[in-house]
Symmetry: C3
Subunit: 353 residues, 3 copies
């Protein structure tokens, strides 16, 4: 979509300086923007960019003085950063509102119940008895298995797969390639060394305001539900095993993994590529460093751990530092042993053993 | 699907106590179940749940005594756990049998050969000369490249992609988002610092009774086959590189990776997020701990390793424990050095060097 | 496709020895090949395979002598390895050329601009104002969001998803299940402990000759572009966060992750499952070992690091070796302490403290 400087100024109550008809179609950083983009300058320290940027339109503070002529069109506002953020939100809202209707071909089973103002993209599959709330956007190539429920205002991006019986809340954002509701990894060892599959009959419940990154996988519970509580944010390529519970507003960075039946409390932060074993509990507010391997419950709220196996952040760091001096330790121990031996050999000292 | 207590009792030879017409549509844990679910109580220790559960129907042991009135309908059987497991299996079999026919639109090339009683979901793609066995279920949005072969009773879940020429055995279960047969990662360095692709002309062979988790990737061989042998179980988000071989009944947990040309023996167990370098061999029955990094062949059957780099489990654990005492070691070495220096400085001892 | 020995010999200027009409349909390793496959023997050391292989046709060096009769048909060439490599390239080129046309049903928006000799597979989705160059292959179930641009000769394999506004160069190869342009993971913490999404308005730019592995995810920039420069090669299941920059000819192995705003220079090599924190810079030619965790910029070109946290390769290895002797260190320190104490207790030495 194209907007003129004048239209933008009207949206954010700004004053145009320059060509009110010049138009932009996207956003850029002031130092990298190309012609046709809108940028902002909030910090006067970076004023130099004003005179070199290729951005067609720039939001600046009312107070911004100019020491040279500039070729871009300016829009003056009280606070350029806030105005820019407001503009981004309005733009996203506008884009979202535009997206409605059912593209063809798509597959919508007759028993599905659809809300109002929804979008269903081409090649999306909607199974039997699926319930979709109002203003939901189902992008192309999404799969919703039988009896899946999707709350109002949720967005499911291209190619995400949600297996049967899973429940997704309101204002959830699920990225492309996610698989939600795949079987938990459960097998009973047999006498001949083979494994017999344990049926995975539960589901996944994703509560409101959750975001789930691209290609993340969340397994259904064996019985009951794998639970992602309100406001949790999961990055890309994360593994959540069966019967796991992720607390409110807990944040998990990319490529981390949580093993079966483990419960994370509220406001936990898990770093990238961290792993957490099964059947433990992580107390509210705990911080797990990137690449850590947590093997025991963290019972104290606001614990901080690092390392694999993970332990207390402060002492782990101290061990890591000491670890770099290890070859030095070895030399120092050898030196001590040598000196003591010299003393014993010299007859100055004797040890009865 | 809805079943009455009476229908369920008939399936498992149980006796109904309570309303035979009450119906359930899914399974739950006794402590979490909602109305309309079926639960079980096997361990008398948890008897309390009987009086508080919302489950509509509960399987209990014949021997279970009741100390209070309960609102749920009971089905009495000799062993409630076994009866519940049998019920799950029967239910899954029933669900599977129901799934037949070809949904439209789907793309089935004319040269494909289809078995009997198969299911092909909407937006599935079946390439030239593909061969599909009997009772195979191809879910929506699956891709089967040219000349792919699928054995009897195999299930391929939504959005899995199988590139051309791959061979999948019988009773295999492939989860959503898997990519099987993608190019191996092979490049020849060029004098100018760039890389030239080495064509990857082999395929992937997945033998019978294998399960492959969601979004797992298995690369085709450069020449020949990447092999996943009978009964192997792979969890989600695993990487299997080109020309790898995974032995019978080997189990690999989520987010682990195996580099090119490495061979894992039979009944190996690989923990989550573990990595194994290329061109090595892991002996039968070996155990690789979660997050380990295996850099050398494990030649002895039933080896157990941990750590990155990985070594012998017992001595690695001893090193991990000692590692936590490192800052303490440093202090003790300093103390010894200081004392020896004091002794030398005091003239009580002399060392000729 | 089937080729006769005679046709193959003509392609690579070889001489047929045996049946010129025998035909092959694929390539195999000489030691594993089945009937109907073509293999090669370059190293005379492996001559034995010539007499046992099931390959129907074998490329051999002109100089190869035979000590027994063989059943396969031979094609003699000056250098069997080079001839085999040339044949693979010609075969792949031929396969590629065959793939043209638009399969139905596919979804191509009216405002999309399509190049010549392209292939669009069934169930592919091409959004508004998408621009596709010449000879591009879009496989089934691919998603191209609005305003995506694809350069000449690029191949996008089944089920890859490219979100709106991303730019893909020429001769790029994108594997199945990739998600390119998903939202960066950016949230502003709120006073109540919840997180507010920061709109992610940038895009991803993938330059020429890049290869991206299966199920890899590359997030769009917050503002501006996440950049994958010319000739970079990314393996499977890799995470590239928002505003990251990957230099020319940099190679990243499977399951590695790069956090937000980090810049990798040219010809960097990143091992499998390695992680790199955000907002740092990795100098040209650096090598990051598998499973490393890089927490600080590598400012010196051609740095080599390992470990988590990662440091200098040589001293890290020395620490790793010393680490295995840790339990031994402990014993040796104890021994020294004991001996010194014995000496002090015996009255031979005194320390004034």
């Amino acid at each position: 979509m194209q907007f003129s400087a004048e239209q933008i100024a009207a949206l954010i109550n700004g004053k145009v300086e320059g060509d009110p008809n010049i138009s932009v179609d996207s956003f850029g950083k002031i130092e990298e923007a190309r012609q046709g983009q809108l940028a902002f300058l909030a910090n006067p320290k970076y004023e130099d960019h004003l005179y070199t940027t290729k951005a067609s339109v720039i939001l600046v503070n009312d107070s911004q003085a100019l020491r040279e002529k500039i070729s871009s069109t300016l829009i003056r506002v009280p606070d350029a950063y806030l105005a820019f953020a407001a503009l981004l939100s309005k733009y996203q809202e506008m884009m979202k509102q535009q997206l409605t209707g059912i593209q063809e071909p798509s597959y919508i089973s007759k028993s599905a119940i659809l809300g109002e103002h929804i979008f269903v993209g081409a090649f999306a599959f909607i199974g039997e008895q699926v319930k979709i709330g109002n203003n939901v956007k189902i992008y192309p190539q999404v799969y919703l298995g039988d009896r899946v429920t999707i709350g109002d205002d949720t967005i499911i991006l291209p190619g995400a797969k949600i297996y049967s019986d899973c429940v997704i809340g309101k204002e959830v954002l699920i990225h492309g390639g996610c698989v939600i509701g795949s079987d938990g990894f459960g097998f009973a060892p047999q006498p001949d060394g083979s494994f017999k599959k344990i049926p995975q009959m539960g589901n996944v419940v994703v509560e409101d305001f959750v975001e789930i990154g691209a290609n993340t996988t969340i397994d259904r519970a064996t019985i009951g539900s794998t639970l992602i509580h309100t406001g949790a944010k999961l990055d890309n390529l994360i593994q959540i095993a069966h019967n796991v519970e992720i607390g409110n507003n807990t944040v998990i960075a990319a490529q981390a993994g949580v093993s079966g039946s483990t419960k994370l409390g509220k406001n936990v932060m898990v770093g990238g590529q961290a792993g957490i074993v099964g059947h433990i509990h992580i107390a509210d507010g705990s911080k797990i460093n990137a690449q850590s391997g947590v093997t025991k419950s963290l019972k104290t709220p606001n614990s901080a751990v690092t390392g694999s196996p993970a332990y207390d952040y402060t002492s782990a760091l101290r061990s890591q530092v000491a670890n770099r001096h290890l070859p030095d330790f070895e030399k120092r121990i050898q030196e001590l042993e040598k000196k003591l031996q010299v003393l014993l050999d010299s007859g100055q000292l004797t040890i009865d053993s």
